[in-house]
Symmetry: C2
Subunit: 197 residues, 2 copies
């Protein structure tokens, strides 16, 4: 039945999600998920063409959750600078609270790139626009092209800091994620740093 199909799919995604959150992407096994949701591996492969697609569905949920948080951070601030700080802090906190889910967004290479659903790109673009809108607010005199570059540089920078932090290539030397991020962000915002929540 179609209903059972849809329910099983949701169940599989939830199971995969918590498994990844707990054990990382390498802890996700087809047999485990199948057993957990009470079906055979064969059925799981009817629900998802392959494991990539299951991971993908989890990634969509992760991106979606992140989008909600970032939108909230963006709209609940009064100034552009404040919003930008709030957005980046929210992002950083998300990576700290959900390291494995966040890592899975990037760690996993799709076997066949053409498989990548369009939703994914769209959602990523949406996220990016939240940031870009605030950069525009801060620098009303910059061209669209420069805004785009500025936003991408900031985004990539924050991304790099979070990535190095989570893969333990950053803070084993005593400088914290938040301090480094604040240093980066202040370059883009122009104001001096403040304490992080």
């Amino acid at each position: 039945m179609q209903q059972r199909h849809a329910n099983l799919r949701k169940l599989a995604i939830s199971t995969a999600e918590s498994r990844i959150a707990e054990c990382g992407i390498q802890g996700l096994k087809a047999r485990f998920v199948a057993k957990e949701i009470g079906c055979s591996v064969g059925t799981l492969y009817n629900l998802f063409k392959n494991i990539d697609f299951l991971i993908f569905a989890v990634n969509l949920k992760t991106l979606s959750a992140l989008e909600t948080l970032l939108k909230h951070a963006s709209t609940s601030s009064t100034t552009g600078a404040q919003a930008l700080r709030s957005i980046t802090n929210t992002y950083i906190n998300f990576t700290l609270s959900n390291p494995n889910l966040w890592l899975t967004l990037f760690e996993h290479q799709f076997t066949n790139p053409d498989d990548t659903p369009q939703d994914y790109y769209q959602l990523r673009i949406n996220l990016f626009h939240i940031l870009e809108a605030q950069v525009t607010d801060i620098h009303p005199n910059l061209s669209a092209h420069d805004i785009a570059l500025e936003s991408r540089a900031l985004w990539a920078g924050v991304h790099g800091i979070c990535m190095l932090n989570i893969t333990n290539k950053l803070d084993d030397d005593g400088y914290t994620l938040n301090d480094i991020a604040t240093t980066l962000i202040s370059k883009f915002v122009g104001e001096r740093k403040e304490a992080t929540p």
Copy 2:
């Protein structure tokens, strides 16, 4: 014999290196390397405790090559700002010329973190100091602590840009790696951007 042992090890590392360079880390197989260097898998496992250690040896070579390049970039510049641009450009070009080798430096999670040889950390610290020295040169009035933060923010930023670029999460929208990197770096150097080699 000890000699043969050492030779085989070198051969294995070279083979793994070119294999990774060509096919990525997922293209590296124990059986392939063993066959290529003319020994059995068993012997390969006498040379390296496990595949991680082989990958590791390749990573050391990669870091070492990178160090040579960055040192050269650093010393062949006259001003600190010029050196910083040269260093980051060299780094970026390295990631473009050796995407798979560079990715392997970060992509691969050691199964057992305690296995990580000390050399590795040391080499990474060395690389970092090359950058830090130039940041110090540019901002002679900053405290050591601020220099450290500044350097780490810049390094993480460049890293993030390269990573997003290589994993195709950046330039599918028309903004190039070099433009974005230049935008980032100019925030740290203070001068305006110039053409990239």
